[in-house]
Amino acid sequence: MSALSSLVRHARSSRAVTVCATMLLVIAMISLIGPLISNHSYFAADFDNRMLAPTMTGGHFFGTDELGRDLLARTLSGIRVTLLVAVIASLVSLGIGVLYGAVAGYIGGRVDGFMMRIVDGLYALPFIFFVILLMVAFGRSMLLILIAIGAINWLDMARIVRGQTISLKQRAFVDAARLIGVSTRGIIFRHITPNLLGVVVVYMTLAIPQAILMESFLSFLGLGIQAPQTSLGALVSDGVSQMEQASWLLVIPAVALAVILLCFNFLGDGLRDLVDPKGNT
């Protein structure tokens, strides 16, 4: 755990990291607490109050959409779904990436060469089109989105983890473990993976915006999250069709999405600079 705690201590000293992390936490908290306080639901239509512009008074702070649904409640719900999908999908990619990278890095040699050749090959493929194909062929389910995004995003993680593992396995404690007869699997799971935690956390903060991007891209095209549920991408897509009459339906979810992505990218960048000062784009 020392890798993680030293990361946290370093991170506190960086202003950009602190500000972004705080903002993300606040946004997540509001999206979770909001529905408990608000008396509008994100799905209930109200035909007497359609297309209301945002006002400070009157109860609809962000206005309403073409069915009279409260945009504040919808945006909060969208943030919740978007963040949830992104975090779970990133955990899926993290699982695959860490396992793949640690095995390749620890075993090394020809196995490593072969496994990394596969990763290189996969890098060149335009996965997003396969995801579109998958959604068209199998219908649009949340589970499928999670698996599809997770299955794509593990490549970066595998590379990073492999590099880290190669440097870890030359350390004395790994030799010591091997000496007393710990199995290869035991070394990878009990001695290598825990020490990867710091790096993994950093790259997870960079994987989450990737996942957000992919989910909202799919939802924007109508292939992702389906009504009555909504996500920020789906809200932006709705807003596009209404922008001439009701610009707030586009601007508010678009700004929310942009702010969240910006925060994650700044956070990830800042954290990466702390772990790996020479690492560039």
Partner: protein
């Protein structure tokens, strides 16, 4: 060089086959047939339709037939546009997609490299912070957020430019789609150029040049610029892929009649063969462009060839 090129081209073939196989299997593993509908067809009519589209054959037979078609540039018939083949539909849409994509890449290279060079040479000044800050926004804000906001500002509110591609005949209809598509690439290229030039300017031979009294600008021009462009060449592959992906969004938002728009309508119609055809086409494009980039890199940097 020739040997390297030959090996790389041969290496691309299995990748392409694998891509086609995955896409083909995905579509064929889909539950329900393409002609299932609420209205139940009489069995002999259904049989006729299935025979016409070779759906009565076994999966390997169908795959073999498909691959044979792909080699000849035939991606099969569209299930929804009855009078057109998938290849005809894609071929008709390619020019406009290509034009917008190529212009976006060009714009991204010109603006991105210039901004990156300025930021690197004026490091830690206000100008540098401005470039890196805008680049961060460009990287974070996705095309599908940026494009509609541009329409809202420049077309709906200010009325300077047409909101849709088909709403005008002039070159002005290209402006918004190209800028929207280029924006993230400008940002990536600016960051990459900046980082790369800073790296090169710290190298020993640049220090020697400085010690000899050369001006910064001539060091950049004669010694640092070309090596600093090397990472950019390898980024071109991902850039092409990102522009292809982005073109789907941009064509959707601006109503450009390109390949990406067909992908959207075909997904909504569940036109399996058209979606499959476009996926194979895009994948082939990406594999091909990556090949070109690799060969370009090997041409520029001889160290790659010998590996």
């Amino acid at each position: 060089m020739l040997r390297y090129a030959f090996a790389r081209i041969l290496g691309a073939i299995p990748t392409l086959l694998l891509v086609i196989a995955i896409a083909f299997l995905m579509v064929h593993a889909a539950p329900g047939g393409p002609f299932d509908s609420e209205r139940v067809l009489p069995p002999d009519i259904k049989e006729n339709i299935e025979r016409a589209y070779h759906l009565d054959e076994t999966l390997p037979q169908q795959f073999y037939r498909y691959i044979k078609g792909v080699v000849r540039g035939d991606l099969g018939p569209s299930y929804r546009y009855r009078d057109f083949s998938v290849s005809e539909l894609i071929a008709g849409a390619i020019p406009v997609t290509m034009r917008i994509g190529a212009l976006a890449i060009l714009l991204a290279l010109i603006v991105g490299i210039s901004a990156g060079l300025i930021a690197a040479l004026r490091r830690n000044t206000v100008l540098d912070r401005l470039v890196t800050g805008i680049a961060m926004i460009g990287i974070s804000v996705p095309v599908f957020v940026f494009a509609p906001l541009m329409v809202l500002v420049f077309a709906v509110t200010l009325k300077w430019l047409p909101a849709s591609y088909t709403g005008s005949d002039g070159a002005d209809r290209l402006l918004l789609p190209v800028i929207a598509l280029a924006m993230p690439q400008i940002a990536f290229i600016a960051r990459l150029t900046r980082a790369s030039l800073i790296d090169v300017m710290n190298s020993d031979y640049v220090r020697t040049a400085k010690a000899q009294g050369l001006k910064t600008l001539s060091i950049v021009r004669y010694h640092a610029f070309r090596p600093a462009m090397l990472p950019l060449i390898s980024y071109l592959g991902p850039a092409f892929a990102a522009v292809l992906t982005g073109s789907v969004v941009v064509e959707h938002v601006f109503g450009v009649p390109g390949v990406g728009r067909f992908l959207i309508t075909a997904s909504a119609n569940r036109d399996y063969t058209l979606v499959l055809g476009i996926t194979v086409f895009y994948a082939a494009m990406v594999v091909f462009l990556n090949l070109v980039v690799d060969l370009l890199y090997a041409f520029v940097d001889p160290r790659v060839r010998t590996r």
